[in-house]
Symmetry: C2
Subunit: 214 residues, 2 copies
């Protein structure tokens, strides 16, 4: 099968699961690829303004469910990942990034001063400073896209979750004053044989309705 068919089949197969099979777990090999998809996601300037919280504790999952419109996916899925973003992109965070570049590429921090200055000028002192939370959230959504597409390619079901109370999540996850804030979550696992939503025809606008050529 060509990669064209592979991708198209996977994306047509996926849907937002309403009822997971609570007994089926994602394998270690697949979970590694899912985590790598988040980790390798691109972001503006490569800053990676994200942290991913994997909730394994069942009591915590039950509490999160209560502030997630009581949706069963929170407790029934195999892996529940809360996506958080960097609340404030400050000099410290940018320096952490520069240190990482220096470490990975074996370059001197001094050589990165120009790049650091460009980022600082844009995100801390520039026009984007005013919308920095929005900016960071958007980067996290690229990672969400990577996670969801990879899941589909591996035959793993998923549900992107926006129907949740981010402030309540922050409290339950101990994120207050951590610099990280909840923006969404993704439930991963396997659809229950009885989830009726899997039989719904996928609804999307036609190509002509959403594409324009200029």
């Amino acid at each position: 099968m060509s990669n064209n068919s592979l991708v198209q089949n996977a994306l047509n197969w996926r849907y937002a699961v309403k009822k997971f099979d609570a007994h089926r777990k994602i394998s270690a090999a697949d979970w590694t690829t899912l985590k790598e998809s988040l980790r390798l996601s691109p972001s503006s300037y490569g800053l990676q303004p994200w942290k991913f919280i994997v909730v394994e504790n069942n009591d915590l999952r039950k509490q999160l469910k209560e502030v997630s419109w009581n949706q069963s996916q929170v407790t029934d899925c195999s892996h529940y990942v809360v996506l958080t973003y960097r609340e404030k992109v400050d000099a410290e965070f940018i320096q952490t990034n520069m240190a990482k570049i220096a470490q990975v590429r074996g370059v001197n921090l001094d050589e990165l001063k120009g790049f650091e200055k460009a980022i600082t000028g844009d995100l801390i002192h520039g026009p984007r400073a005013k919308v920095i939370e929005t900016w960071a959230q958007r980067q996290v959504y690229i990672a969400m896209g990577f996670l969801l597409e990879t899941a589909a390619l591996l035959g793993i079901d998923s549900t992107p979750m926006e129907g949740l109370d981010p402030a309540a999540y922050d409290t339950l996850l101990g994120l207050n004053n951590s610099g990280w804030k909840t923006v969404a979550a993704v439930a991963l696992g396997y659809r229950h044989a009885e989830d009726p939503f899997q039989n719904n025809k996928k609804v999307r606008f036609d190509e002509a309705e959403i594409f324009e050529v200029k």
Copy 2:
């Protein structure tokens, strides 16, 4: 090759191209899959608050380049896609969506009244109304993720572009008062053999730095 290796190899292979090979074009089959990846992307409530503008006109590309920090990707890539979001999610847009569901699934519009009311209550009259532009932008970024991951899987290079003047794009693309606004763009095609950035080691935080288990 298992899909695990396929995905991991593709995501490690991709990088943000700085210099495209202006002579190589994406094939029709690959372009279809790229468009399908955008079209099939998930979004909150399935509302698809996006429109994708494919810029083929060379003069227009030159003008866009001037308001994109003069980055050569705009003119040298094979396919240049501007991602726009729905500025205002209003009753009309929600009804367009309901009509689409009714058409695709062959159900009566009346059966969708409850769903429509839930969406309206959340996005038009609820707390999310205040952040509706941010909400719509985030959905578009899921689609950006799908586009970028699919490109990598097909061996197609890409550059996500945030370094652009959205207001100038709106004017050049004739979007003013259209209900759609530019948020970002993606350049797609093939890396130039001489793009030095392809030799840089990919910089990402380690798994332990961005994942937390609770």
